[in-house]
Every structure is written in structure tokens, then in C-alpha cells.
């Protein structure tokens, strides 16, 4: 199962496009859109009734998007079940979006002049239920000469809590923390990247919760928007988790 998310910012407009089709199976029945938001320390999950759609896609504009709202699509879920349960955890509500290739939405950001950029996004359920660390180079997807480089760290965690944790910018050569910032679970966290952080030796590292690092560059109204791969995508041999664990251990030693 995949969750989807939008972004809200004064810097750009956002549109989330979620397909209603699967690649390898035909649709059975009506597809519904559900929204989850934390309310009074529980997940409030409700079926959305008013949004734009056509036979192939669901469209959510920025009026419906926020940095703490998440979405999933499903066959109809019994309304009684949804309302009567105080959801103390996000669960795998259905397997509608468990597909191969991955079931993805398109998240597009744009400005009023016409610049736009997007990527095919999803937040897999397997990430929601885990704690862990994230490692990503600040240099790979940014433009040093941009007017603005922004890092977004999106976390979705199964428990309905907004807990702070730190992201560290670490110089891997000097083994020094050059910046640290408090970020939050179940939020889209925004961090401005000044030029000093866009060094080829600088990596972001979190050691408590997983998140997806998204990079936005803006120059003369042009936009670039993309995410980095998690480290395990680079190693395919059986020792992959061992190697990555050793690497992350080194970064953990720097922050502890």
C-alpha cells in the first residue's frame, strides 16, 4: 500500500495527480480517496467527497493539500468501521496500490510565471512502520547558482504523533556537524540550503525516523524537483544491509 502527499508553500503552487488505474489489473468497482490527519492524538481518516477527477485520475490542488495531510486510495471502506475506530496507528488498509511497477502519483510544483517541475511520488507503507536513518548528499540534486535551493524532508510515521527529531548536515571529510535542525514527524519539513551546505562532502543524516529527501532548486522562475535514492538502491549484493549499516554507523558516531 502507498500513501500520497502534497506540499503547501508560499513559494509555489502544488498539484497532486493520483492515477485511478493499475497497470496489470482492471478496475473493480469505484475507487475512493481517503485523507488521514492527526487530530487529538489519533489519526482521523475520512473519505473525501469533493475533488476533481476524471475516468483516469484524481486531481488535488493546493486548497486540499497541506504539509500534515496524507492520502490513500482504496475500494470503498465500510464507513462505520472508519468512524468508530480511533486510529492509533496507520495500517495497511488495502492492497490496491501494492503493485509492480510501483503505484505512484505525480506531484508537481509551479509558479505563476509558468515554471514547473514534478516527480513520480509515493510513500510506501513499509517506510511508515519503520524507524531508521536517512543519508543523502546535498550536492547531487541542487544547483549552486540557483536563486534558492530548498530541502524538503517528508516523514510519515504510523503513530499519530508529532515528535521532533534532528537532521544533521555533516561534512564527511572533516567528520564535523556543520548544521543541525529540528524537524518533525508526520510533516513536510522545509530547510533553506545556503551555498555553504552545497559542498560535495556534505551529507544530511537523520538517526531516528525515516523520511524522503526532496530537493527543489529555483532560478529565474525555472524549477527542479527530485528526490535522492536511499543508499540500499546502490548495492544489490547480499551484503547490502551490512555495508549500509556500517556506513551509517560512521555517521552515527559523528553525531553522538
Amino acid at each position: 500500500m502507498n500513501y500520497f502527499f502534497g506540499i503547501k508553500s508560499e513559494l509555489f503552487n502544488t498539484k497532486l495527480t493520483i492515477p485511478k488505474f493499475k497497470n496489470k489489473k482492471k478496475l473493480n468497482g469505484k475507487i475512493c480517496l481517503y485523507q488521514a490527519i492527526i487530530e487529538n492524538k489519533f489519526w482521523k481518516i475520512e473519505k473525501l467527497l469533493s475533488y476533481a477527477e476524471d475516468e483516469s485520475f484524481i486531481y488535488l490542488d493546493q486548497k486540499l493539500l497541506d504539509n500534515n495531510k496524507i492520502f490513500f486510495i482504496s475500494d470503498e471502506i465500510n464507513k462505520k468501521d472508519l468512524n468508530k475506530i480511533k486510529h492509533s496507528e496507520l495500517k495497511n488498509f488495502n492492497n490496491y496500490t501494492s503493485t509492480n511497477p510501483s503505484y505512484r502519483s505525480n506531484i508537481r510544483i509551479s509558479n505563476d510565471i509558468g515554471g514547473f517541475s514534478s516527480y513520480q511520488s509515493d510513500y510506501p507503507f513499509s517506510m511508515i512502520s519503520k524507524e531508521g536513518s536517512v543519508l543523502s548528499s546535498l550536492c547531487l540534486l541542487t544547483n549552486k547558482n540557483a536563486d534558492k535551493n530548498i530541502l524538503l524532508l517528508k516523514n510519515i510515521y504510523k503513530k499519530p504523533m508529532i515528535e521532533s527529531f534532528y537532521v544533521y548536515f555533516i561534512n564527511n571529510k572533516t567528520r564535523k556537524i556543520i548544521h543541525k535542525k529540528k524537524i518533525y514527524t508526520n510533516q513536510t519539513n522545509f530547510i533553506d540550503l545556503s551555498e555553504e551546505y552545497l559542498d560535495k562532502e556534505v551529507y544530511l543524516f537523520t538517526n531516528k525516523y525515516l523520511c524522503i529527501p526532496l530537493y527543489i532548486s529555483i532560478k529565474n522562475n525555472q524549477i527542479s524537483f527530485e528526490h535522492t535514492h536511499p543508499p540500499h538502491e546502490y548495492i544489490l549484493s547480499d551484503d547490502r544491509y551490512n555495508k549500509i549499516s556500517l556506513l551509517k554507523k560512521k555517521f552515527n558516531e559523528i553525531i553522538n
Binding site: N106, F116, N172, Q222, E226, Y234, L236
Partner: protein, 256 residues
């Protein structure tokens, strides 16, 4: 006996047969018993229409394995699979960047693909790694819009070995469908980039138009239709394009 059955089931023709009839179909095959594999996407370069391409990559062997004396060979091809040149880069940094413009390619204004293979200086290798790093594209200026690699294509077992392929599998006929998970009717113009990740020719169809992708070739196709949902039918199990969308003098690039 089990080994024999496994060997038979992994025969190329048998896999194509399995994929044709969706009997234990297999999209990706990586032999984890191999000790040495450096796998690469077939990354798009383009210098046509005032495009410049930037390639950002990490020294995977140094970063994850702490190996010294590592190097990469990057092999550039035309769209028809003719070799243009090979670049061997030693003295790698953890983060590396190459700018591919027409000067870099001896005046070629066109498009094609390149593969990158990571090695260490002695012949002993013991890893399976994949470079799925990051391409930036700029048009008429020096601002790059980024996209990550998304299709394992070719590999080498060591610096002196032949380039091998067929990680991505085929079926016998065009019975595989992949729908782009975005509404493409919103743009003035859309291009799809496909690279053949197999050693066979790939036949594919976008809506009603038929195309052929020869072994070792790649193709940029300008979409003729502006349907909301675009279906790609092919005999390849994973034929996902890099997508360029154009509107109001701006462009966006992302993987399908």
C-alpha cells in the same frame, strides 16, 4: 535436480514464454551468485535543441566499501548504439560531475546514451552495485532540472570483461502494458526517451503508433496524441520512459 529445474526456468526463451503467459513472470533477473557486477542504467545525454546534460554521480565503491584506487569507465553511444568515446576517470572524488555539451562530444548535436561502470584497480572485485545516479538537463542556460536513473540496463564483471545486458526481461510478443501515471494532456508538448535494456529488439506501441527499438539503441519520441492516459504496449517487461514536458517556454523532466 532442483538446480537443473532452476536452470531451465531461467533460460531466456523459457522466461519469455513465462512472461508471455504471465506464468511466474519475471521482469528483472540479477544473478546474485555472480560475485562481480557493476550495473549501469542507460543514461540519456542530449545536446540537441540547445540542451546540455549534467551527470552527477558518487564513487560507489569508495563511499560504500571504503575501497581505494577506484575508477569508472563511462562509454558514450549515439542513439543507434555506435560508440562515440570512452572516458576513464581515475582519482575520483566521492561526488563527481560531468557536463556533456556539444564540445564534449566533438561537435555532436543530437542525443544518445551512456553507461558507467565502477571498478577498482586490481582485478579482484566482490560486489554487485548499480549506478542509478542523477542527470540534469538545461536548455539555453545553465540551470539544470534533475531526474534520477530508473532502469538497470547493462553490466560488466570486471574492467576487462565484455558488456553484458538482459537484466530486464522480455516476453515473446507485445503483451506488456505500462501506463504513464500522469495526465499528459496538460502540456503543449511531451517527449518520451526510451533506451533498450535488452539484447533483443523491442517492439512497442504508444496508443496507435508502432515503434521499434533495435538492440543497443535509444529513441526520443515526440507524442502525437494528447490523451490524458498514455498506454505503452511492448514485449519488454519494463519499458518506462524518461519524460520531458514542455509548456510556456519551460520544461520539466522526470521518469515515468
Amino acid at each position: 535436480m532442483k538446480l537443473l529445474i532452476k536452470k531451465i526456468l531461467r533460460n531466456k526463451k523459457i522466461i519469455q514464454f513465462r512472461n508471455q503467459f504471465n506464468f511466474k513472470s519475471l521482469s528483472i533477473l540479477i544473478n546474485n551468485k555472480e560475485k562481480n557486477m557493476s550495473i549501469s542504467d542507460s543514461f540519456l545525454w542530449r545536446t540537441d535543441n540547445n540542451f546540455t546534460t549534467k551527470f552527477n554521480f558518487i564513487d560507489i565503491l569508495n563511499f560504500f566499501y571504503d575501497m581505494e584506487k577506484t575508477f569508472v569507465e563511462i562509454i558514450f553511444y549515439t542513439k543507434n548504439g555506435e560508440k562515440i568515446k570512452t572516458l576513464k576517470i581515475e582519482n575520483l572524488e566521492k561526488f563527481n560531475q560531468i557536463t556533456i555539451d556539444k564540445n564534449f562530444l566533438d561537435g555532436i548535436e543530437d542525443y544518445g546514451y551512456f553507461n558507467i561502470f565502477h571498478h577498482k584497480s586490481n582485478d579482484e572485485q566482490d560486489f554487485i552495485i548499480a549506478n542509478r545516479c542523477y542527470l540534469g538537463f538545461s536548455k539555453d542556460n545553465d540551470f539544470y532540472s534533475y531526474v534520477h536513473g530508473n532502469l538497470l540496463s547493462k553490466y560488466k564483471k570486471n574492467p576487462n570483461s565484455e558488456i553484458e545486458t538482459d537484466i530486464v526481461q522480455n516476453s515473446l510478443f507485445m503483451n506488456q502494458e505500462y501506463s504513464i501515471q500522469n495526465n499528459l494532456s496538460e502540456f503543449e508538448n511531451t517527449e518520451f526517451f526510451f533506451a533498450n535494456p535488452t539484447s533483443d529488439k523491442i517492439k512497442f506501441k504508444i496508443d496507435d503508433d508502432n515503434y521499434l527499438l533495435k538492440k543497443n539503441s535509444c529513441k526520443i519520441i515526440q507524442l502525437k496524441q494528447t490523451n490524458k492516459k498514455i498506454i505503452i504496449k511492448s514485449n519488454c517487461m519494463l519499458l518506462r520512459p524518461i519524460i520531458f514536458n514542455y509548456k510556456n517556454n519551460f520544461f520539466d523532466v522526470y521518469h515515468g
